[in-house]
């Protein structure tokens, strides 16, 4: 406690000592780069409304840059717009525009490199290649920003918020649109990603690899080209996120590839081609998720094991589940399946016969994809009904022995 108080005092004195430099088009200081150059460490630069050119302005000392009514910081499509190379930099309320759009370099609206305790608040980034590019940084806060990818010809776009080898980053309340991947992580740990909206990106809403111990809470990933794909990572926690409207040729709500020992709880998967697809993912816990109106609810490859699925709701999905082989040692229990046709004689609200979520027809499609044209035909209906009465065709390992009779209220 005493330590924190000391820290607070130090900060306060620092603040008192700092100067405020005002930048406006008609002021003595009317150039963004010069303002940064002339500032002393821990100064505050107040940017008045107006348009300021900024061809890769480098911030190499701790500064606070505050925009009033979103002044435009214009990169004029020449280079990056702002690069932060120092710790304790705060960028607040800026309207950052027009990075170079070539793909020779990963041009970013804001680049943060080897910086600690930097903050980006309430900034707007538009017509940018990458939005906010953070590498080799820690304890960065990226909050309440909006980044919209450049709308130029071709599909060559950068990522919205890009993390490379970072630690303890907070990404909160941002809106990310029109980029390649909305949020991209590689080799980044202990991050919290919460309340973001990542939508209409041409590839993934969220994409990470080799990024353990991150937590994702209450984010929405909507209508991204191929949904959300995460790979080669352990100890992920995903709570109360929404994955919706990701449809297309190979779109997923959530693709898990070699993700292990992770927790996926309270999420909603709605209107996705495939809500969740899992490859080589083991020791996963799926609880209290809602799978609503997806083409497939779960697609689990046979190389997944020791996964548990409990108390999830499956409603309105064309296929509740599919697999490409025999599943080993996965547990399905107490889920609600709207296609369950069993009975509950002892009235314990749990069906007396197991539910098998994989239908014969979904197995056929797995082998012969063109057969999807027969979906919902009388023949397929007959096949699936026949299969229910001829046990043995379908794997017994993929079943919920205790399906609940009524939808689980959240």
């Amino acid at each position: 406690m005493r330590f924190y108080f000391f820290l607070f005092l130090t900060a306060l004195t620092a603040l008192c000592r700092a100067n405020v430099i005002t930048l406006c088009p008609s002021c003595e200081i009317n150039d963004f780069a010069k303002a940064i150059q002339s500032a002393a460490p821990f100064d505050t630069i107040l940017v008045k409304p107006g348009t300021y050119a900024s061809i890769n302005t480098i911030i190499n000392k701790p500064l606070t840059v505050i925009g009033e009514h979103y002044p435009i910081i214009d990169g004029q499509q020449k280079d990056e717009v702002i690069t932060v190379l120092a710790d304790h930099v705060s960028l607040i309320g800026l309207d950052i525009r027009n990075t170079n759009l070539g793909s020779l370099k990963d041009y970013a609206g804001i680049r943060i490199f080897k910086s600690h305790y930097t903050q980006v608040f309430r900034c707007h980034l538009r017509n940018v290649y990458f939005g906010i590019y953070i590498s080799d940084a820690s304890h960065t806060t990226v909050k309440d920003n909006v980044t919209i990818g450049a709308d130029y010809a071709g599909s060559d776009r950068g990522n919205g918020i890009h993390l490379w080898k970072c630690d303890s980053i907070l990404i909160e309340g941002n809106r990310i649109n029109n980029h390649r991947d909305g949020i991209y992580f590689e080799f980044s740990k202990h991050c919290t990603i919460t309340n973001n909206l990542s939508a209409n990106n041409i590839r993934y809403g969220l994409h990470f690899m080799f990024s353990d111990y991150n937590t994702y809470i209450r984010n929405t990933f909507r209508n991204n080209g191929t949904g959300v794909a995460v790979m080669y990572t352990d100890y992920v926690q995903m709570y109360d996120n929404v994955f919706e409207d990701n449809w297309g040729d190979a779109a997923y709500g959530l693709l898990l590839k070699d993700i292990n020992s992770s927790i996926i709880v309270g999420n909603t998967f709605r209107n996705n081609t495939i809500a969740v697809t899992m490859e080589g993912s083991s020791r996963m816990r799926f609880e209290n998720n809602d799978f609503i109106k997806n083409g497939y609810g779960l697609k689990i490859m046979a190389n997944c094991e020791s996964d548990t699925f409990r108390r999830n709701n499956f409603t309105g999905n064309t296929f509740d589940a599919a697999t490409n082989g025999v599943l080993v040692n996965n547990l399905f229990a107490y889920n609600y399946w709207d296609k369950y046709e069993g009975y509950d004689l002892n009235r314990d609200k749990i069906g007396d016969v197991p539910y098998k979520p994989v239908s014969l027809y979904s197995m056929i499609i797995e082998q012969m994809p063109y057969a999807v044209i027969l979906l919902r035909s009388f023949l397929v209906d007959l096949l699936d009904r026949a299969e229910k009465n001829i046990p043995g065709i379908m794997p017994d390992t993929f079943q919920d022995a205790t399906p609940v009779m009524t939808i689980i209220k959240r």
């Binding site: 996705n272 497939y296 919902r376 009388f378």
Partner: protein
Amino acid sequence: MLKIAKYVVYDILRSKVLIAYTLFLLLISFSLFGLESDPSKSLVSLMSVIMIIVPLVSIIFSTTYFYNAYEFIELLVAQPISRNSILLGEYFGVAVSLVVGLLVGVGIPIAYYAPTATGFVLLLSGIALTLSFASLAFFASVVTRDKAKGIGVALMMWFYFSVIYDALVLAVLFAFNDYPLDKAVIGMASLNPIDLGRIMILLKIDISALMGFTGAVYKQFFGKSFGMIYTIGVMLLWILLPLLASVRIFRKKNL
């Protein structure tokens, strides 16, 4: 022609069969919508029922009606009325009655519970199937003279289009699984009005599942305006061709 159709409609509306059909559809529709809180899900179940019941009732009812009206047709043939008018009049009478039954039995529940594009397409497919199976029924009726045989042919047609055809498609897919079959499958689907009707609805309901995998190919084809026009065009052929064939045969038929 329209006068004859008018009398046929009067005649059918007074028979109990059409009323029973309408009530049956009403019962199914309302119970499917009533038991399920999500109307789009009920539409899926309703589709399954409609794809079986509507072609079956349409073809059997039309065939039976044609044979029961045989003497009346004889009477008309001796009047100064062209044979085309007689057959088309009979057809439109039967078709309009069946469509009215469908509109009341399925259209009203859809308008009440699910007045969506999907509901509309479902109703449209139902109407198209009614018209095309009535058309097939007339074809079966003019090529056979015997009532029992005619109904047998009609039943076979229904069974063929509902089950056998799709089984053949599945067999073809199985045999040529390693080849690119998208065009072939679209072609095969065109040769069955029930498949076409189903695909029209699927593109509205199961769009996401269809889009995964090769579904994208179908979606690309059927989902575009060309595909829609193609589907409607082929559906019209399925209505018109059997009807025109029966008109041609009926023109030379001895009564």
